[in-house]
Amino acid sequence: MYGNFSRKRRVHGMLKLYYGLNEEGKTVDQAESMNPCDINGTHFDPEVYLNKLRRECSLGELMDQETCMVKQIRSLDSDMQTLVYENYNKFISATDTIRKMKNDFKKMEDEMDCLSTNMAAITEFSAHISGTLQDQHAQITKLSGVHTLLRKLQFLFELPARLNKCLELQAYSQAVSSHRRARCVLQQYSHMPSFRGIQDDCHAIMDKLAQELRQKFRDGGSSAKDLSECVELLLQLDEPAEELCDKFLIHAQSRLEANLRGLEAETDILEFIDRGCNEFVSSLCLVIASYQELFVNRPQEGELASKNIPHMAIGKLHAFVDAMATCYFLLVERRIQEEKSVGDNSLLVRALDRFHRRLQAVAKLLPGSAVPSQGTEIVVRAARERIKQYLAALQRFYLDSLRDVRQALAAPRLATGKDAPASLPELLSSLSASILNQIKSVLASVHLFTAKDITFSNKPYFKGEFCSQGVRESLVVNFIKFVCQSSRQFCESAGDRGGSTPPALLLLLSRLCLEYETSTITYILTLTDEQFLVQHRSPVTAVAALCGEAREAAQKLLNHYVKVQGLIISQMLRKSVETRDWVNTIEPRNVRAVMKRVVEDTTSIDVQVSLLYEEGTRKAHSSDSSKRTFSVYSGSRQQTRYAPSYTPSAAMDTNFLSNIHKLFSERIDIFSPVEFNKVSVLTGIIKISLKTFLECVRLRTFGRYGLQQIQVDCNYLQMYLWRFVSDENLVHFLLDEIVGSTAHRCLDPAPMEQSVIEVICERG
């Protein structure tokens, strides 16, 4: 209620404000005016006022009130008189004025009448004029319409000429905008022959223009800005964007292909890559950039927006870049593959680095592209290939070194005959040093791949796999394995095909492998691990395994050496036994020459082996072994061996004795593995030779002098061979067997006197 009231008041207040009334004064007035007793109020009721006064006031007060009121009435009367008096003149003048006005109005009325007639006349005239001007006005409007139409038509008619001119001036954009303006109209009125003609003309011209634009687009020389303009215009000419992309790319392709063709002529790898980077990759980047400018990043407007050009364009661009990059990569890979010379790796690494570095630009331009990763793969492949090449080079080097050693072994022997064995240790050390140097230089070359300033060196491949699988396993370990394996091959091929490998080489290789086992392998692998900080993430060949392999190879080579040397001596002995008629031979006067030869050869082998291998241990023997054992051998034991066999009953004893003897002697393994020392090697060779001697003797039949000759020969061998072997009893035993077997194979076993044998042997 109150709110309502207050609102009313407010509205009221605002009205009051509008009429410039003082609200406060008014309210006071109102409050007063509401009182019927207020004598000045509008609601004053004399009766109420009188009653009130009568009730409330005493007589004195009433008297006072009456006087006061009379006083007030008198003053009011006087005031009124004054006012009337004062305003009288004004009333008079006002009456005059009104009278005058009455007159004036009358005059004005007349004039107004006159004016209205005049106006009617004017209206009439004006209507008349309008009527007469009506036609002309319509004509003018029409004319002005015709004028504009004609202007337009003129534009249309002039359009072909204008377009032609534009064409001439190469103001293509103007032409295109003109044509665009006219195009709709022409299209609309194309049913009229003349317009049709114009339209056709325009079309022809525009085609020509488009042609020219395309030509320009196709031409190589145009700048990127021109091209962009071209494309813009062509797009406005409703040229399909797809086709434009294709054309643009084809155009680019031809240029890029020209670059590639240019590349093919290049010979030097660094120049090749440089040129590839500067020409091909730069062009490619340029193409990508301008293409993106033209098709991908352009602001979309109007109808073009709906066609989703960027999406299509990006797809095309990717395909294009991939295709071009593939061509380029093919070329690069072929070129890298041609890079076979392993001399200077730094060139290749630099080239690869540049190659890799420049491809990063493509990556930046075209984020989703596979090109950089492919490029990295090429680098990785190239690195792998390189490792293979280095391995092959190392292997070649090794084989070449071996060939040199072989020649060195053969040549002096032909020339002087004595120097060959002397140079064995030198050959070994030079061979081993040169191989080690070669490995080091190869490692240094390969190390370039992981240099810090090479961009691809921080790729995961080059940090991990390249070092461990590539360099360590594929290169170093494989090379060591190759050395062992090729050494083993010497053993296999030579065994069957008559020992084409010189024995000295076998010995030398054996020593080389042994050195590898003891120190070189560890050294090389440690070196590799240190240089390449190999982290063994994947399992790698252990040093111990390689050492084992090397030792095995060394053992095999040495065994083979023993076999080959043993065979050479064996053959001499065998021929000497097989070719002789032992039944009808003459009484021995000399040691046969072949025995001297055997001793000579054994001595020279001894010298040869001692150059590379340590002496080794032998069983102790007296200073005069040859003499002392000799007597034992041919005296007591030999007598018991075959002397009793003259009588049939004793035959059993012979065998029995020999069997008893064998029970107590250790079994002799003829072709048994030898130890890495001279004595063991020589023991092996002598064992093989004497065993052959024994087997050959058993296949023959001897006469008395045949037996005696064998006795002499064996004695001679005894005198000289004991010093070479680890256990002289071995020589005794085998020679014993030989003489024993000869006695068994003898038709007339009459042994020679020991003293005579000695004399003959002393004589030599």
Partner: protein, 384 residues
């Protein structure tokens, strides 16, 4: 393992090919001073008793012996005959006297036995002075005992024997020609192709001959690094041939491809003198060597029974007869079954029994004959 000693040295060993019931081996002795003998070794498998009979072979020391596949009593020998300071090797066909079996079946230790042995009956000489020394005589395998081949120096002579084998005539011959003094060292008559093929060894080469035309059909030059000592045909695979030689190797050949051996064994440490396929189970190969060892190998990969039976290792551990270390072996893998080291001297001959395929004999130069069985575990492995 059962051993037997002879007084004399011996190189020649054969099983009695025509005998399929009794386990019987023939050994020819080699002595220049005494009368040579042929020892007939009988092995009683059930009682494990070896018994020996002796026949005199007075013609000379025996280098090679070979039993007729048709007649138990007929055999051939190659022997050295020494006359007037000349040593000539001859070949001859002999018949054992019919009484030997009943008459002299005594224990080998009986001294009486060796004093009064019976003589072999000479049927005919396979001699032809123009063809030189005979190195071995081969019977036609599984034949009727009418054809033999003798290898004499560089000739291979095919002989036809009469019904009673008393007369031999040369029906055809082949001659090895070439530089130097060529000499056949060993030979083997192939049991395949209707017995029309012969393989011979000379020096390092192995040659195949067609007996119908007496012409060479193949030649493996440098089959071994050194001399080839012996040959044997796989009885079940017609193109497979084993050879052994002075390079300590045993090689297996497929004669259709002679460039490479199918397999090479290098287990011996000296010359290998003899190689023999088991007659029934050709994966079992026996070799004897002058390193005094006999090696029994299981060449599963190139045998006619390449798919052995899978047997648990537990079953293989049982080996009553085999006191050697027997390796537990995987099925289908070539392996050495056993190395026999009983011999003290060079082993020049090894031979499978013709009666019992699980039994074999080896002979060393010192006159020791050793009879061994295939380890029982292996036997069951092969059979089951």
């Amino acid at each position: 393992m059962y051993q037997l000693y002879f007084v004399l040295q011996a190189r020649a060993l054969t099983s009695q090919t025509a005998e399929s019931d009794a386990i019987r081996f023939l050994v020819g002795t080699q002595s220049l001073k005494f009368d040579n003998q042929i020892h007939i070794i009988d092995f009683d498998d059930e009682n494990n008793i070896i018994s020996k009979s002796v026949l005199q072979h007075q013609a000379g020391e025996i280098w090679h012996i070979s039993a007729s596949p048709a007649d138990k009593a007929v055999l051939t020998t190659c022997y050295n005959k020494t006359s007037e300071s000349r040593v000539v090797t001859c070949g001859a066909v002999w018949r054992m006297p019919p009484e030997w079996e009943s008459g002299s079946h005594e224990s080998p230790d009986d001294p009486h036995n060796s004093h009064n042995p019976q003589n072999l009956e000479l049927l005919c000489h396979l001699d032809n002075s123009s063809h030189g020394n005979a190195s071995c005589v081969l019977w036609e395998p599984m034949g009727d005992g009418k054809h033999v081949i003798s290898l004499a120096d560089n000739h291979a002579l095919l002989w036809d024997l009469t019904e009673s084998s008393t007369q031999a005539t040369i029906s055809s011959s082949a001659t090895l020609e070439g530089k130097g003094q060529l000499k056949f060292t060993a030979g083997k008559w192939s049991p395949h192709h209707n017995c029309t093929q012969l393989a011979t060894a000379n020096d390092t080469a192995i040659r195949g001959w067609d007996l119908r035309t007496m012409s060479q059909i193949y030649c493996i030059e440098n089959a071994h690094g050194q001399l080839v000592r012996d040959l044997d045909f796989n009885p079940n695979k017609q193109y497979y041939l084993a050879s052994c030689g002075d390079d300590c190797k045993v090689k297996f050949w497929d004669v259709r491809n002679i460039n490479e051996p199918v397999k090479t064994l290098e287990e011996h440490s000296h010359w290998v003198w003899s190689v023999r396929f088991n007659h029934s189970h050709d994966q079992l190969v026996l070799t004897g060597s002058s390193d005094s060892r006999v090696i029994l190998s299981n060449m599963v990969s190139i045998s006619s029974e390449p798919f052995g039976h899978l047997v648990d290792d537990d079953d293989l551990s049982d080996g009553e007869d085999n006191h050697q270390d027997e390796k537990t072996k995987e099925p289908l893998q070539d392996s050495i079954i056993s190395t026999y080291e009983e011999h003290e001297d060079s082993v020049y001959a090894v031979e499978w029994s013709s009666a019992d395929p699980w039994l074999f004999a080896s002979l060393s130069y010192d006159g020791r004959l050793v009879i061994n069985r295939v380890p029982r575990a292996l036997k069951y492995h092969i059979l089951l």
